[in-house]
Amino acid sequence: MLFIVNALIFIFIFAPLVIVVIQSFTNENHMGFPPESYGVRWYAYVMTDDDWQNSFMNSLIVASIVAPLSMIIGGMAALGLDRSDFRGKQAVFSYLIAPMVLPHIVLGMALFRIGLFLDTSEGFTLNATDSLWFYVVAHTTITIPYAIITIGASLQTLDRNLEEAAQILGASYFKTIFFITIPLIKSGLIGAFIFSFIISFDEFIVTYFLATFNQTLPIQIYSTLMFQLEPSIASISTLMLALTALLTLVLMSRGQLVSFGKIIK
């Protein structure tokens, strides 16, 4: 009984994704299931079309900068929280992970406001809205909580004696961090990197506020979707699915999926 119920739930989870994958290989002009003929024509289309190419590159650039940035800043914060003891530490932790529970729509519009302010302010006019650097800033804020929790989890399992041994043998504070701590929490760092990459790559609502012409992939999908349900959506979705599945497998092999469970707890 339990198995049957679970089987149905997993069908519910995966069936739509499987259908998208099958649909993406249609050779027809319109969506229709099952497709009457198969081919890779829509893959060729999304890979050669300028709009799709640009939005893909934008997403890739943004995520590739966000991931290391969030890993470094989040990693430093996680280490700081792990190694220090002060009053209000719990409050600082809650503050640092707050962007996770704050509705992203609110954060998105608030950042949009700041962007507009930067766009028009006298003296130091920066093009903030519709520029990739501002997407990077916004996404980094969103992804840091995930990095802090993932790296924090791996710091907790670290054997502190090894660091102490290095320091007794004369290693400085920073030498200990670089040669002992960082190699030991490598899995956590990789986890933080990949989570941040995926979250940034998939991010919709915050970018939706900031973007007008410089679209990212999720926004391009959305605007195409609102216009018409074209098979190109299925193809690009399948490519995104493949990328995330690949990265998720890397996470699993590093034992980091469990730490994602901790994020939610």
């Binding site: 640092l96 704050l102 509705p103 519009m109 608030a110």
Partner: protein, 289 residues
């Protein structure tokens, strides 16, 4: 002591970044929410226009729609999560990892991708409707006047579609906390209950369910909060037929530049969320005897 101070400086980059990209924007929003919007011009001050607007019947209705949709989503997530969490606890570690992969990997898949997938399944030309046409169900229903001549089964562009699409997205957020609480239960408690002759139903009602409550509360809080702030699924799956507070806020900002009203609505949304977190804390305390 010196190391302590050094470690604290490691927090600085994150705190400085947050000051600019998290705290400042929210403060700006709070200030704007007390502004006034007149003839497309925003003036700051201490006006309650936006807040008063929130309590107009039209908007209050949208708020309650959003609220109840989120309640449905939370409820269905809960029902679907329990069997998965129970199974995860029973199987071998290897199988458990596979289930964990199945539960978490969709979470890392773009919401847009998953919602467009559901359009293929539930839409008027979707798979289910094609099948219903094929077996003649839709013709029967059309003859009975239950669905309109050109439409299929109403599976999306309504509350049902929105709830289904969102449950699909947020299910993992419910499964994981429940699983965490379940795995903390000592198996010998259940075993003794069984040995003393408890049926499966009794076992669930008197042991498993009460002991899983911390996870249930955590999961429900999370799913509810996330659902209240969700924009994309109601737009895609609701197809103009479902209106939620995030949609109103986005429309006010993007189409009408009405920042004061949009900010006031956002503040009300945040208050609702903070209140939910507060209630959830109280509940957590009451179950942790």
């Amino acid at each position: 002591m010196k190391a302590n101070k050094r470690s604290m400086t490691l927090l600085l980059p994150a705190l400085v970044l947050y000051l600019i990209t998290f705290t400042a924007p929210l403060v700006v929003l709070l200030v704007l929410s007390f502004g006034r919007f007149d003839k497309s011009i925003t003036t700051l001050g201490f006006h309650l226009d936006g807040y008063i607007k929130f309590f107009e019947p039209t908007y209050l209705r949208v708020f309650f729609d959003t609220f109840f949709i989120s309640v449905y989503i939370t409820f269905f997530c809960l029902i679907l999560s329990f069997p998965v969490a129970i199974l995860m606890r029973r199987v071998q570690p290897f199988m458990k990892n596979i289930i964990l992969f199945c539960v978490i990997s969709p979470l890392l898949t773009s919401i847009i991708v998953r919602n467009s997938a559901w359009m293929l399944v539930l839409g008027n030309q979707g798979i289910i409707n094609q099948f219903a046409d094929y077996i003649g169900l839709n013709d029967v229903l059309r003859d009975m006047g239950l669905i309109s001549r050109f439409a299929g089964l109403p599976l999306m562009n309504n509350v049902f579609g929105v709830v289904l699409g969102t449950v699909h997205v947020y299910l993992p957020f419910m499964v994981l906390p429940i699983y965490a609480s379940l795995s903390a239960i000592n198996p010998s408690i259940e075993e003794s209950a069984r040995n003393l002759g408890a049926s499966s139903m009794q076992l669930f009602r008197n042991i498993t369910w009460p002991l899983s409550l911390p996870g249930v509360i955590a999961g429900c809080t999370l799913v509810f909060i996330l659902s209240m702030g969700l924009y994309v699924t109601p737009v895609i799956m609701g197809g103009n037929k479902v209106v939620t507070i995030p949609m109103i806020i986005t429309g006010l900002v993007r189409d009408r530049y009405n920042w004061p009203t949009a900010s006031a609505f956002s503040v009300m949304l945040l208050i609702t969320i903070l209140f939910t977190v507060y209630v959830s804390r109280l509940l957590q305390r009451s179950v942790k005897v």
